[in-house]
Every structure is written in structure tokens, then in C-alpha cells.
Symmetry: C2
Subunit: 267 residues, 2 copies
């Protein structure tokens, strides 16, 4: 174990801080995972940890030391750091003393494998990283086979995606691709596409999602692109008797659709 890093201008500390920026993530192929629960999930899913920064003064529980040992066994460099530089790296309001610099994993469409009756969540052009992370978490709870992020502008390695997903994104297969490639892939795999839009009459609970189903949710403000609306086998509306103008937020819409698909499968 090397000595404790005490300087906020330590090069490693500065590199970690830079990973909040997308460009630095792209250039290095690295991203940040903060927190006990999230790092445990990264280890469970064999995500490569380059460096695990730890700050015992900030620990909340009693199991942090074990997690640090586990990361070390898994090949991570382990670096103890004082409170000031740790807080500089941390992006949480209440840091709990664990921050991992991880290697980005494969998010190509080609690595996605699905079962015989897959359930997929497709999202297009979701602007808020927190919403995307919440949707991955919901897809995990609903046991979806994969999440397809049909927008190459979205960075799934944004720290707020990691945080809102509470690390479920490490076990959930995720593909980032263009809408065109996603549509072609879904057709090729015989998946029924159900797209959500306010402009149709069919309520989502009156539609059949099918045995090989993808539900597609767009950005709140602009909805789905014409490409998705044309590619859809079924277009459904989530009824909003209370307010026709401002829809549910995108993460709430995804939860409602995934759980209706699950309900139908339970019958």
C-alpha cells in the first residue's frame, strides 16, 4: 500500500475529477462509480476497476474494508486518500468514502443476447442522465433482457446515470446505437415494437405487447421520432385523464409500460 494521498492537486485526483466531463470519458475509456452499493454491483458484474479510491474517515458502515480488499483481488489499484481530495473527486452531496475509476464496457448492439420471450426497453433521446439511470433500474426490477439507448448522443457512462441506476446498469445488457440500427436489429430478432405516443387512441392497457416485446419511450418534450413511429407494430397512448398537455416524465412512462407488459405475461 502506498502512502495516503493528501493533495487535492494530485494527478490521479485531477484525472478522476476530469471524468465528470464527457470528453475525458471518451478519450480515456474510463468512468466513475461512486458508493458502496454501486461498486459492489460493479464487482459482481466483473466491471474492470482501474483504481479504487478510499477514504476511511467517510465510511458509513462496517463492510467498506472488505469491498476494498475484493477490488484489490480483482486487480484494481487501491489508493487511500484524505478527506479533502476525496471530496473533490466525489460527486455526491454526502460522499461515503468509496470511488472507483472503471473501464467502460461494451455497449454495442452486437453483444446483446436475448431469450426466447424477451422484454426490451428502448429509449430515444433521453436528455436527463438521471432519467436514463432510473429507467435502467426499472428495467432491472422488471427483468427486462436489455435496454437499448437509441441515440448516440447519450452517454450512458455519465455519473448521474450510474447513480440513478444504483449500479443496476452493470448487470443489465445495454446497447447504444442509432435508431435505424436498433429498428433493423429488432426486426431481425422478430421483436414486436410498441411505441408510446400521445397521438393515438389505443390505451396501452388495451394493447397486446406480445411474447417478444420491445417498449419504446421518447423524450418528454419532443416524443418519439418519425422513424420509431413508422417502425412500430403498435402505437399506444398512456391515458392521462388529468392533464393532456404535460405528459408523465419519461421514467414514469417506462415504468408504466414495462409493468403492463409484465402483467400481461402473468395472465
Amino acid at each position: 500500500m502506498s502512502k495516503v494521498v493528501r493533495s487535492t492537486t494530485n494527478p490521479g485526483v485531477k484525472s478522476a475529477v476530469r471524468l465528470r466531463n464527457r470528453r475525458a470519458r471518451k478519450e480515456t475509456g474510463l468512468f466513475l462509480v461512486e458508493g458502496f452499493r454501486e461498486i459492489r454491483r460493479a464487482l459482481d458484474a466483473n466491471i474492470g476497476i482501474e483504481t479504487l479510491w478510499f477514504c476511511p474517515e467517510l465510511y458509513l458502515g462496517g463492510s467498506e474494508g472488505e469491498l476494498v480488499d475484493r477490488a484489490s483481488v480483482a486487480g484494481a489499484e487501491i489508493a487511500q486518500v484524505a478527506e479533502a481530495p476525496f471530496k473533490k473527486m466525489a460527486y455526491r452531496d454526502r460522499p461515503e468514502g468509496l470511488l472507483a475509476v472503471c473501464r467502460q464496457f461494451d455497449t454495442s448492439l452486437e453483444q446483446i443476447e436475448i431469450g426466447t420471450s424477451p422484454l426490451l426497453l428502448v429509449v430515444e433521446a433521453i436528455e436527463k442522465p438521471g432519467n436514463l439511470g432510473t429507467m435502467i433500474r426499472t428495467a432491472t426490477a422488471a427483468h427486462a433482457d436489455a435496454v437499448i439507448v437509441a441515440d448516440q448522443n447519450t452517454d450512458v457512462f455519465n455519473p448521474n446515470v450510474v447513480r440513478a441506476s444504483i449500479g443496476t446498469m452493470f448487470a443489465m445488457p445495454i446497447a447504444v446505437c442509432s435508431t435505424e440500427n436498433a429498428v433493423a436489429w429488432l426486426h431481425e430478432h422478430g421483436v414486436t415494437i410498441t411505441a408510446s405516443t400521445p397521438d393515438v387512441d389505443l390505451a396501452h392497457w388495451d394493447a397486446s405487447f406480445g411474447d417478444r416485446a420491445a417498449v419504446v419511450v421518447g423524450a418528454e418534450q419532443y416524443g418519439l421520432s418519425e422513424t420509431w413511429l413508422s417502425a412500430a407494430d403498435t402505437k399506444v397512448r398512456i391515458p392521462m385523464p388529468g392533464d393532456a398537455i404535460d405528459s408523465l416524465n419519461a421514467a414514469a412512462a417506462a415504468a408504466v409500460l414495462l409493468y403492463e407488459a409484465l402483467r400481461q405475461r402473468s395472465l
Copy 2:
């Protein structure tokens, strides 16, 4: 119209900034509403606006001036402010030049009126203001009669509740009260209480929510208190085939339950 406020140490600017703190909100009975859409909703719902700060340099659209006029007619003091002091008051990353200091409205249980087949959302001890705001927004989309916040520690006037609700909280009747008072009120009004908990076998889609229904959602980490679990007519589990340990986030759970209740009403 008085002259433009240019100083970031102007007393009015400083008072507005202080309203981010709960204690200042409590002492003054005021709260902040930022953004065009949110302030329009406040005006639509006759929320009292004490002061409307506006900064034309930051306007994004063409209708802000009209909204300022409308607020003035409604009795608000109108104050033009330069960019620097506006940005000091704003809590959004991309302020759009409108910030209202509003008077808190009645959130007592006594003011809640419900219809003959009410649908209510009850939340207990929700820690994150953003989650609470999202739940109010979802309840609005689902046309719930009211949202009952069964925890006197939650401040519904937190700016992040306002923001995540996108102002829907001004038209949605909201009550903040103790769990005991909420239970008594629901019983008195003949409302069937359906509580969500991971510790039962009944899936929410196999339960009947009833014609006078309240769905109760607790904090993600601790779930519902014993009081709610005892008071519930039905306890349901949202099935999570994919991950039994970390549940859906509280806002996603509320969306799933409210929409299952709506689906049953559509049959």
C-alpha cells in the same frame, strides 16, 4: 416600474436566495417558483405571487412579457433584475429569466375534498424532493383527487419538489399530515387503503384497488411504517422478477400502482 436591480447584495435578492432554506420558508410562509411553465401554472391555480423577478436577457421564448403582465394584474410586485443577481437567485442550471416568490398555500387535511370514486396517492417519508415532485406530477397525469404526504418532516415547498412537479403541485390538492391523521381521515371517508410492501405474495395486478382507493408508497430504503401496514385493507407487492433486493424507486412504484388502479377502472 422601479429601476433594474443590479446588485447581488440587494435585500430582495438575498431574501429570495434564503428561501432555498427550509427555515426561511417556514418563517416567512413563502417559497420559490422558477420557470415559465411553473409560474404559468401557479397563476392558473391562483397561487399568491408576492414578487415576480424577471430578467429579459435570459428569456428563451416570446411569451415571458405576457406572463409578467399577468402576474402584475394578479397583484404581484414586479421587479426587473440584471443577469448576475438573477443567476444568484435561480436554482436551475439554465435559468430562463423568471422567478416568483410565492405565498405557501393550505396543505391541511381538512381542505381536501374528494369525489364519489376518489383515487388518492399517499406517500410516507419520501426523502428526495425530486421524487416527491415526480409523484405529484404522475398523480396529476393519472387524475388522482389528492396527494397525501404522511410525514410532517417533508417540506412540499422545497424548490426541487416544485421543479420535479413542473408546477402540477399547484392544481393538485396536497395534504401534509401525520400518518395517524391520514389513516383516520381515509377511514372516515370510506377509502380502501392499498399499501405496497415487498413482504407479501399478492401481486399488485391481482389486487382490487376499489372504487374509493388510496395507494400508499413508502421510502425506498425503509418501506412503509407498521402503522400503514396495519391500517391497510390490502397489502400488495410490485413483482420484481429481476432483482428482489433493490426495489423500484419510489416514484416508479407510485406510477405503476396508480396506473394499475386506473386500468382497473377502465374495465
